[in-house]
């Protein structure tokens, strides 16, 4: 819906609602940044003070130092993210194409099985999967964290399938008549039309892998292999006495790249190319 037809009043109303929502969503994060700049004994004080008594910029380099291996963890996180994103986008797109753009016998039944797999809670399968990785000798390596991405997670297949289904059948038919192979149609017709969806899948996978701490917690044993999210856990002490200011500083550092990533990519997958396939 374009906005140019809305009245001034409507514009103001929309703007007002957006600002309210923005405040609601931004406040806790503002507190996170504010805490990251406080000295330790002010971090958990009630009532909350937004402005620290003195701005402790040193919390940032201190937190990097306290994590012992910040840059290495960052590199590990980045590597895992890139591997996961590549694997996820490629395999999910292939599978989603198979479930939506080709008519084959039993397709919808198999798709329901896929839906059903999303209902399997992770802790249930965690123990046998752990056993599987142990047999393969992968515990302690990165493999359990990125190899499964190359096998098309159900969520992403479902998402892409829904988008692929929205592309009119005529386009595929026309390409088939032109003599294009299925894979060719996939690569040259459907994929480019689904940029927003593919970007979403890639972005979500990146975010998930970047912030994932349960996976690394379970599968990684050597400290040099830890990821940033796991490194963040090192600030939490078990008997009280967490260094909140360092934890928040490190969290802000960790969140910053993904915020920037999102901000610069959101335009391209929300607006733009998607609508070109609809005109006919």
């Amino acid at each position: 819906m374009t906005g140019h037809r809305n009245s001034r009043f409507a514009q103001a109303l929309i703007y007002g609602a957006l600002v309210l929502a923005a405040i609601a969503f931004l406040t806790p994060l503002a507190w996170m940044v504010s805490t990251s700049l406080k000295p330790l004994n002010e971090t958990m004080s009630l009532p909350q003070a937004w402005v620290p008594s003195r701005i402790c910029w040193e919390n940032y380099p201190d937190s990097i130092r306290e994590m012992h291996d910040f840059w290495r963890y960052a590199g590990n996180s980045l590597l895992l993210c890139l591997l996961s994103v590549t694997g996820t986008v490629a395999s999910s797109a292939l599978a989603a194409y198979g479930f939506s753009r080709i008519e084959w016998k039993g397709r919808d039944k198999v798709f329901f099985v896929l839906l059903a797999t999303m209902m399997i809670p992770f802790p249930v399968v965690m123990v046998p999967i752990y056993g599987l990785f142990k047999e393969l000798g992968w515990i302690g390596t990165f493999k359990p964290l990125w190899v499964p991405a190359f096998f098309a997670g159900a969520f992403n297949v479902f998402l892409l399938r829904q988008f692929f289904l929205g592309i009119p059948k005529e386009i595929s038919e026309a390409a088939r008549i032109d003599g294009c192979s299925e894979f060719g149609i996939f690569l040259r017709v459907i994929l480019p039309l689904s940029k927003p969806a593919l970007l979403i899948v890639g972005l979500f996978q990146f975010l998930y892998t970047w912030n994932d701490f349960l996976g690394p917690l379970v599968y990684l044993t050597e400290q040099k292999n830890f990821t940033l999210a796991l490194g963040l856990q090192s600030f939490q002490s078990q008997n009280g006495g967490t260094s909140w200011h360092h934890l928040m500083a490190a969290s802000t550092l960790i969140v910053l790249p993904v915020i920037l990533l999102f901000f610069f990519t959101q335009k391209s997958f929300i607006e733009g190319v998607a609508t070109t396939g609809r005109k006919n």
Binding site: L40, N41, T43, M44, S45, L46, H68, D69, W71, R72, A74, G75, N76, L78, L79, L82, Y130, F133, K134, I139, G140, I171, A174, A175, D178, R188, V189, L191, P192, L217, V218, T221, Q223, K224, Q233, S234, F235, Q236, S237, Q238, N239, G240, G241, T242, S243, V273
Partner: protein, 457 residues
């Protein structure tokens, strides 16, 4: 109709390429974690729960060990959620060589064959009960075998605010000696505002409430009889939890809830004990460090045994806990791991570790220099409590985690006025007896195989 696919905008593609290169470079750069270990020494992996200054204390002892000999190199790692991660690693076949867990975890690990028995190596080195404060040595045993050696101990006591005592007209050097006296003092120390809300209170079992499951100890009760009979609703325990129940009855459940919600975090100046809202608490010896960091500079505090219910039998009752060092099953270098653990358990390194962590030592002998230099002015009180006959431990059963959770829930219900002590404890009794019976059944099945392999090691 052909459709020219729009290509990926060039800038995006090259950005991805560059990022990938950087990532591979960063991850592959082999910056070593700790100096050394490239010299052919056997590397031992040591997982420990501590962070902050406690971690620094152990790291210093590790460095001493590494410097004192040329055969073994210990690599220290701070590991969060160590009990779960150790289990996963051991089940996954990649455990560390040494792990620092809590004595409360011991039964579960030992019974499930996750630990290496240490009877043989200890005997060879002449490590024996006589060198320790007995309760800590005993904590490292389960089903007749030694599974661990102590690292750092702890005990709990009544900590009270001397200034608040003085202001209420009580003698700051005379802490309460019985539960009845505690309640009398409580009355004097409690202040309400004009609208009836609680401003300060003498004592609140829920603050901090970390040992809510074990209040029975101060009433002569215990949760487990022998090693198979749950006694959650014994008369002594009922007396203890009726005492807990008397709080919402006297002060009002809503009032207590409102008061507690205004309490700040434990590690902050708004900790209710530090900012004068609660005068007396049950806490462990580590409180000293938190007082130093967060309490006002003129804070005056005293330590005494938490009073028992029976003034005619004044046993100084305390709950003792211990951090312990274990060697998981499947460790690559168990022999070398034990050398490190044994090193930590000799006097000089142990005293260094406990001094830096501001605790007392689990060893029976302790030099006077230890106390002279000790930052905690009341450390002797805590030590005496651990040495005395009133030192109690949580039940050493594999169902303890669940038991504790159930007791916590029972206290929660009593506290909110939702159930009287009788019913709440009765429910716990039923569930936990059934649970324990089930576990004993499981043990009976797997016992022959396990005990045989333990004897052989």
């Amino acid at each position: 109709m052909t459709h020219d696919p729009p290509s990926t905008p060039p800038p995006v593609r090259t950005i991805w390429n560059r990022v990938l290169c950087v990532a591979v470079l960063l991850a592959g750069s082999g910056v070593p974690l700790q100096a050394g270990a490239g010299d052919g020494r056997i590397v031992i992996r040591y997982w420990e729960k501590w962070t902050g200054f406690e971690a620094d204390a152990m790291r210093s002892v590790v460095d001493d060990f590494n410097a004192s000999q040329g055969r073994i190199f210990v690599e220290y790692s701070s590991v969060s959620q160590i009990d779960r991660r150790l289990m996963l690693a051991t089940a996954g076949g990649v455990p560390p060589d040494v792990a620092g867990i809590w004595a409360a975890n011991l039964p579960v690990y030992a019974e499930n064959n996750a630990l290496t028995p240490l009877d043989g190596p200890a005997r060879e080195r002449g490590i024996h009960r006589g060198a320790y404060i007995p309760v800590f040595w005993d904590m490292c045993h389960y089903r007749g075998h030694l599974w661990a050696l102590p690292a750092t101990p702890a005990s709990v006591a009544l900590i009270y605010n001397k200034k608040m005592f003085r202001e209420a007209g009580l003698d700051p050097e005379r802490p309460p000696r019985s539960i009845a006296e505690l309640e009398a003092f409580n009355g004097k120390l409690t202040r309400r505002s004009a609208s009836g809300r609680l401003q300060t209170i003498g004592h609140l079992p829920e603050e901090p409430g970390w040992w809510n499951a074990l209040w029975g100890f101060w009433f002569g009760g215990k949760l487990l009889e022998g090693d198979s009979r749950v006694t959650a609703d014994s008369p002594e325990n009922l007396a203890a939890y009726r005492w807990v129940q008397s709080y919402p009855e006297r002060f009002g459940a809503e009032n207590l809830l409102a008061m507690r919600d205004g309490f700040g975090n434990f590690a902050s100046p708004q900790n209710p004990f530090f900012n004068g809202r609660v005068a007396m608490i049950l806490q462990g010896n580590w409180i000293h460090n938190f007082i130093r960091n967060y309490a006002p500079p003129d804070f005056e505090w005293g330590v005494a045994a938490f009073p028992s219910s029976d003034p005619s039998n004044p046993q100084a009752v305390s709950i003792v806990e211990c951090d312990i060092l274990v060697i998981p099953t499947g460790a690559k270098h168990p022999g070398e791991a034990f050398e490190f653990i044994a090193y930590v358990n000799t006097r000089a390194p142990m005293e260094k570790l406990c001094l830096l962590q501001q605790k007392f030592s689990p060893l029976r002998e302790c030099g006077p220099e230890f106390f002279q230099g000790h930052p905690n002015p009341h450390i002797r009180t805590f030590l005496d409590l651990a040495k005395g006959p009133g030192a109690r431990t949580a039940p050493a059963v594999t169902t303890w985690n669940e038991f504790k959770s159930d007791m916590g829930n029972a206290v929660s219900r009593i506290w909110a006025g939702k159930a009287p002590a009788q019913d709440a404890l009765g429910d716990v009794q039923k569930r936990q007896q059934k649970n324990l019976d089930r576990r004993i059944e499981r043990w009976r099945r797997i016992a022959p195989a396990h005990t045989k392999s333990w004897r052989e090691q």
